[in-house]
Symmetry: C2
Subunit: 356 residues, 2 copies
């Protein structure tokens, strides 16, 4: 098999050629055609502008007839509003992010904003994408990523671009964030597992330097401590990946103190752990081992996995994010706020949650 190319060269005709940039319509053209000033045309397209309803209707009609739309770039130069949300995403291989991204951009679009998405290189963190992101002067920088340096937020501050963290938060309360209450969720998972009679807990880390990972682990440890249970074993997956979870679970079970319940930093890690347990080690889940994930990505519900997991309140998180952006754009001074929304345990068959 080899590459094929099909062109219309054979039966070429005039219409086959892509026209090189058609005529550019400007407000001046519409104005001339109507015998009004360009300001009038501009006003017709500006909300809350002082213009008679009649004139506006006339202008808009003629504009749409001619096929004119205002140039958003030229407009932005003056209004200092690009209506662009610069979104930096890392780790797109985690299905949680595409799911969030799709809903988030849709809600932003409904709120009259466009999304400019920047994907960070895998392995590296999101910071490298920020300078280019800032070049387009987005009205807000949205960080959908687990890792992030403080240099990045500083760069945004310097550029005067407000930053909003999604599914991530920093210690110093200097920057807005919307996350799931990972700490509390971790605690709850420990409680529930211990309540069902599990005795040897373990946690599989994604990236240890991310806030999500850290908070989930810390909550888990707090929960174990509060119940007077043994300290959970901690094993590193080396990243939020299926392969990492797979390998980490094998190491755990081969260790000196194999767990009877594993809480994973997120669903992708948990799916890897599940497959290692069932397909490679031949364990019965949840009889031999309980596995719990985090996020509730759509695959968690698939019958091959049927993963018990903590569902992030994604819709509420997105709703709040959009509201925060709108607030940022109206008032320009604001006290940064970190919001934590409660996660919810979704009980499926990968974990034994009743005493036996």
């Amino acid at each position: 098999m080899s590459e094929k190319r099909r062109t219309s060269r054979g039966s070429s005709s005039r219409s086959d050629r892509v026209p090189s940039a058609s005529v550019r319509l400007t407000a001046r053209d519409v104005a001339a055609s109507l015998g009004v000033s360009i300001s009038t045309v501009s006003r017709a397209f500006t909300e809350n502008a002082v213009i008679s309803e009649e004139t506006r209707r006339m202008v808009l009609e003629e504009a749409s007839r001619m096929g004119y739309t205002p140039d958003v770039l030229a407009r932005s130069m003056i209004t200092r509003r690009t209506r662009i949300a610069g979104i930096a995403v890392a780790d797109i291989t985690n299905p949680f992010y595409p799911e969030v991204l799709a809903r988030l951009t849709r809600r932003l679009h409904e709120a009259g904003m466009q999304s400019m998405v920047f994907f960070a290189d895998p392995g590296r963190n999101v910071d490298d994408a920020i300078p280019t992101l800032l070049q387009y002067k987005p009205d807000v920088a949205l960080i959908l990523a687990a890792t992030l340096s403080s240099e990045t937020t500083a760069a945004c501050k310097r550029a005067g671009t407000p930053v909003l963290l999604f599914n991530r938060n920093v210690q110093d309360a200097q920057v807005e964030s919307v996350t799931c209450d990972n700490l509390d969720a971790g605690r709850m998972v420990a409680e529930v597992l211990l309540g069902a009679g599990h005795r040897r807990l373990a946690f599989i880390q994604g990236l240890s330097d991310t806030s999500t990972n850290r908070d989930r682990l810390e909550g888990f440890q707090q929960g174990a401590r509060a119940a007077g249970a043994a300290e959970p074993t901690v094993e590193a997956a080396g990243g939020f990946t299926y392969e990492g979870g797979y390998a980490a679970l094998k190491r755990l079970m081969d260790g000196l103190n194999p767990p009877d319940a594993v809480f994973c930093a997120n669903d992708i890690v948990a799916l890897g752990a599940l497959d290692a347990a069932r397909r490679e080690l031949g364990l019965q889940v949840p009889q031999d081992l309980s596995v719990i994930g985090f996020d509730d990505i759509s695959m968690a519900a698939w019958p091959s996995y049927d993963l018990t997991t903590v569902r992030q309140p994604v819709n509420a998180m997105i709703q709040l994010t959009v509201e925060k952006i709108q607030a940022l754009l109206s008032k320009d001074d604001q006290v940064p706020e970190q919001v934590f929304l409660p996660g919810r345990l979704i009980r499926r068959s990968s974990a034994r949650l009743e005493e036996r």
Copy 2:
């Protein structure tokens, strides 16, 4: 559990407040600081501009010291180049697209372009996103979607924005496209399945009005016909979804003529079909039934599935796409070309491909 908010109100200090848009540095500032004209500053940042190496170095140095970068928006107004690739994506729930998107935006970025991503509403096709996409005057519109109306390409043509289809093509050869050779791959799958002794072929459709679906099915049918085999049964999943594939497989097996081999329109559909076969119908795969997918998303390789599938040559497709974009931007007249790259069968355990 309830929502928590944490602010720094308690220990509020001056530095807690987000600064409202810091000073805006312009070329004028750099020029003044150096005692040169703004044209000189501009030239320093323009490739191939007539300027002495020494002056350029001096300007760039001072600029970086001050933290100045040219305003890309203002620049675009004059150059008529935004360096933005407007990317419209539908169906982000199919993991194939995030994987492509991540790599594509990275390669575009290396080529000096930014990606503005627009997600179409689920269910609806990508067309609704196009008008807003065009507003930002992208240098090229990239369509990553299975469905697309001809009205959309017309709108782009009118706006003077070149269009490039990825993983999609239209009949009339009027628009550039880069796809896998779906027809040929479909043929190959039929051949291989029939060669291994399967007798009752079936195809599970995603969306019947998409070019990918159509070509894969048509190739499959051609292959069956060429081998003198019975016409494959066709069942509709109602969309490229896991749930659709799951339900479609059950209907197929409950039907009058249950197949011994199923070719699915893509991997997500195939994973649903696999789970239905194994988890619900208790079938042995591949002894009772062979299942083949399309795309080779990362999950296809997971041990729980180990899906035999046709791998799309994603890297080559992306490479070609970026090259085409660069060509589009240099020459403005071009004969549209449709490129088909060969897919490759990845043999895993979900299909019996040897005669027994």
